[in-house]
């Protein structure tokens, strides 16, 4: 279980998070929605220690990780997969080498075992035949899927997704959503997904939270938030309906 309590963070003189409280249950898929610049990605970076809060406490399975550094933080990070918005693949490594990188750095597995695991992950993200390609040779959507495969390389119990469908056409966005959905069913991971894609959010979420003015102002199951009277949520859902009409 991931718990953020009273998180406040200012960046560049601007208050991004203001006493944010958020709990994500074990094996839950939690989707975080909010306007651009609301601090959704900043929130994800708090969980992996890339940004430290000015105030508040972050716990994972009741262990306080707020002020961990060095090796202590490293052990926490190895239990979390992080899918970056751009994929963030290492350019001079092939797709397969990118996926194998965490295993080569942190495990004593043999080359054969790593290759088998890489192939399994490539199958999971539907890129079975693209292992030898370099990041420059694949599309944005494929990079995101490689990023997902790499995030799962160490079998982390928690996976964080930063805008996994941003910049993708609806078909590729749905392909990513299918991968995330399959992952939840087959791997039983706890997922926190930051996205703007409402359709996908409602398709894969167990719960949805809305980040507004540095706090979670509304959360619940897709059905609960659909029935919300919160003006901010209503506006978001109106956008969703408008989006559907234009599709």
């Amino acid at each position: 279980m991931i718990r953020l309590e009273g998180i406040s963070t200012a960046l560049g003189g601007r208050d991004i998070l203001r006493g944010l409280d958020l709990t994500i249950r074990r094996n839950e898929t939690y989707v975080l929605l909010g306007p651009s610049g609301a601090g959704k990605s900043v929130l994800l970076k708090h969980i992996v220690g890339l940004i430290r809060p000015d105030e508040g406490r972050i716990t994972i399975d009741d262990e306080d990780i707020t002020h961990r550094r060095g090796a202590e933080l490293g052990s926490v990070r190895r239990s979390i997969g992080y899918v970056f918005q751009s994929g963030a693949l290492i350019n001079w490594l092939t797709v397969a080498e990118n996926i194998a990188l965490p295993m080569r750095e942190h495990t004593d597995q043999s080359d054969d075992a790593i290759e088998t695991k890489v192939q399994k992950l490539l199958d999971l993200v539907h890129l079975s035949k693209d292992g030898e390609k370099f990041p420059d040779e694949i599309s944005g959507g494929m990079k995101k899927r490689v990023g997902i495969a790499r995030a799962l390389a160490l079998d982390p119990p928690i996976v964080l997704f930063d805008e996994p469908t941003a910049g993708l056409d609806p078909i590729r966005a749905r392909a990513i959503a299918r991968v995330v959905g399959n992952m939840r069913e087959s791997l039983e991971v706890t997922s926190l997904i930051v996205t703007h894609n409402l359709g996908i959010a409602f398709e894969i979420a167990d719960r949805i939270g809305f980040l507004e003015n540095g706090r979670i102002t509304e959360e619940g199951t897709p059905e609960e938030v659909s029935a919300s009277k919160n003006p901010f949520v209503v506006e978001f859902l109106a956008d969703r309906a408008a989006g559907k009409r234009t599709e």
Partner: protein, 266 residues
């Protein structure tokens, strides 16, 4: 107006101090991963090819022409006194003590230094460095130590080549323009290097020149990596990181060159 000037100067000095501190700490943190870099010979070879072999054409041309220019200028002056035969001594000492490491340092700053800063800067602004951190792979281990290690080996190797090519270029000019026989030129060059102390089988001038180049290699790689790792703000930030890396490395090559000469020859 004056207040703004003080604020601006103070801010600039604080920023400089912060950058210097970060660069020194980066070098200190990276040294623990040198053993790991040693265990990755393929990666070191690949980096050596990228930063070294691709710099070779520039090194060859600049080294040869520097030797030729030094030879021509000193030769013309010496010829007025009929002393052109000692050109070999002057060129050998100049190339080994100063010109070899200095020229190589400047070339590697312009080629490898800017390239490393741009490469790591691009990785930084495209979240690849964050990705490494999240995977618990220290950038010092994965990126910085291999690059420092590579330039530490590469800079003296290219310096040796620069020295040789410079002296050979000078010999050609001395022979063609001033009529100095090759045998006299090279005998004088070797005698000049022999007359000064020997350390570990090397003449002192060669030894100190190579030592300087090791220091230059470490400085260029560390400064480039530090600037790449602190790049912010997309393509503009990457360009700025590369430019800063080149400027700072140029200055460090000059400053360290002077300090080492002072220490080793005073």
């Amino acid at each position: 107006m004056i207040g703004r000037l003080f604020t601006g100067t103070g801010g600039f000095l604080i920023d400089m101090a912060e950058r210097a501190g970060f660069t020194i700490l980066l070098l200190a943190r990276s040294t623990r991963w040198f053993g790991n870099a040693l265990g990755r010979p393929r990666e070191i070879a690949s980096l050596g090819y990228t930063y070294g072999v691709r710099s070779l054409p520039v090194v060859i041309v600049v080294a040869a022409f520097t030797g030729m220019i030094v030879s021509l200028q000193t030769g013309l002056a010496l010829a007025q006194y009929g002393q052109q035969e000692i050109m070999g001594s002057i060129v050998a000492i100049a190339m080994c003590r100063e010109m070899g490491p200095f020229i190589t340092g400047l070339i590697l700053t312009a080629t490898a230094g800017s390239s490393i800063a741009a490469e790591i800067g691009t990785m930084n602004v495209s979240e690849e460095i964050d990705a490494l951190e999240v995977m618990s792979i220290p950038p010092e281990k994965f990126l910085v130590a291999p690059r420092i290690f590579t330039l530490t080996l590469l800079c003296p190797t290219l310096t040796l080549l620069t020295m040789l090519l410079g002296i050979c270029g000078a010999a050609v000019v001395a022979h063609a323009q001033l009529g100095v026989a090759y045998s006299i030129f090279f005998d004088n060059a070797i005698d000049a290097l022999r007359t000064i102390d020997w350390y570990f089988g090397f003449p002192k001038d060669l030894y100190t020149g190579l030592f300087k180049s090791v220091v230059f290699g470490i400085s260029i790689a560390t400064v480039a990596c530090a600037n790449g790792l602190t790049a912010r703000g997309g393509a503009l930030g990457v360009g700025q990181a590369a430019r800063n890396a080149v400027i700072v490395s140029f200055l460090l090559v000059l400053i360290f060159g002077y300090i080492l000469t002072w220490i080793l020859y005073r």
